[in-house]
Amino acid sequence: MYIIVIGGGRLGYYLLKALLNEGHEVLVLEKDARICKTITDELGSVCFRGDGCEAATLAEVGTGRADMFIAVTGDDEDNLVACQVAKHKHNVPRTIARLRNPKNAILFKKLGVDVTVSSTDLIIEAIEREVPTHPVTQLLTLDEKGLVIVDVKIRPESTTVGKAVKDLTLPKDSKLALIIPNEGSAHVPVAHTILQAGDQIIAITPPESKEALRAALSGK
């Protein structure tokens, strides 16, 4: 695959390395001559100095034959414009943009960016996962389906301990996928599965039903 990465900062650099390791043809576009030189010295001629938002520069590096275009500069507006130029001027089939402001995800999707990755959201999710008192942890966002995968812990004081799955009133479109008990192996919940204290439940839900799902599973 031919992949073009915009921005040779820390994220761009490590992304470049990972993609090269997987055997892809990768080129980084970077405005800063010094950064460009550092990358070239270390990894060979895989960095081109230029503005990734300029159609002419993108033409020069053969964006027309790129399979994927990934914009990871630190500025949302630059990532948006780079992806739009790649999409509309060079017909790149898949564009990916890094977001600083998670709220921009909707706009970017609307404007034709195929995938957005919010570093802010990812870090928040990762930290929440490490906070033991947090009742619901978001594990993964399935953007295209409008669903999230969450992890809910059943506390000993929950009124749902001892209840069967079929007696729970789950929000619409929320599904329990897996139960990981305190002891023993993980199992797929069925109608008569009884919830126990310490169970860890992996569920799939629309993001807006997250709180309702938590309430249904903890009994309040």
């Binding site: 500025d75 507006e77 948006l80 739009q84 130029v85 509309h88 402001n101």
Partner: protein, 132 residues
Amino acid sequence: MKILIMGCGRVGARLASLLDEDGHEVTILDNDTYSFRRLPPSFDGTALFGNGTDEEALKKAGIEDTDVFIAVTQGDNRNVMACQIAKHIFKVPRVVCRIYDPLREEMYSALGLETISPTKVFAQLLREKIEG
């Protein structure tokens, strides 16, 4: 008309005061309050601190019931993004975008934005002056 201008540089400030003199309801947004020194003391509109590519800031500036949105910051990309937010998220009836880079200007014009490239306009103006 209610007019929202993003970027209080020379052009933004001047445009704001002209439109204000004409009796329009003008709000001007900039992410550096120091820029507001460019507004004349007679300016009667609203000068607001905020980032025009942030939906919350735009809401505070009253974008939801504005008639015209004009982006004249120094950054082409910032202008483009703000204008697309105004047009596609807030459905502002008229959106005008300054884009210095003529190539980028052509593309966004083809994508349906109302754009002006000062580079193109000024080069043309100079040519006419010299040749004409």
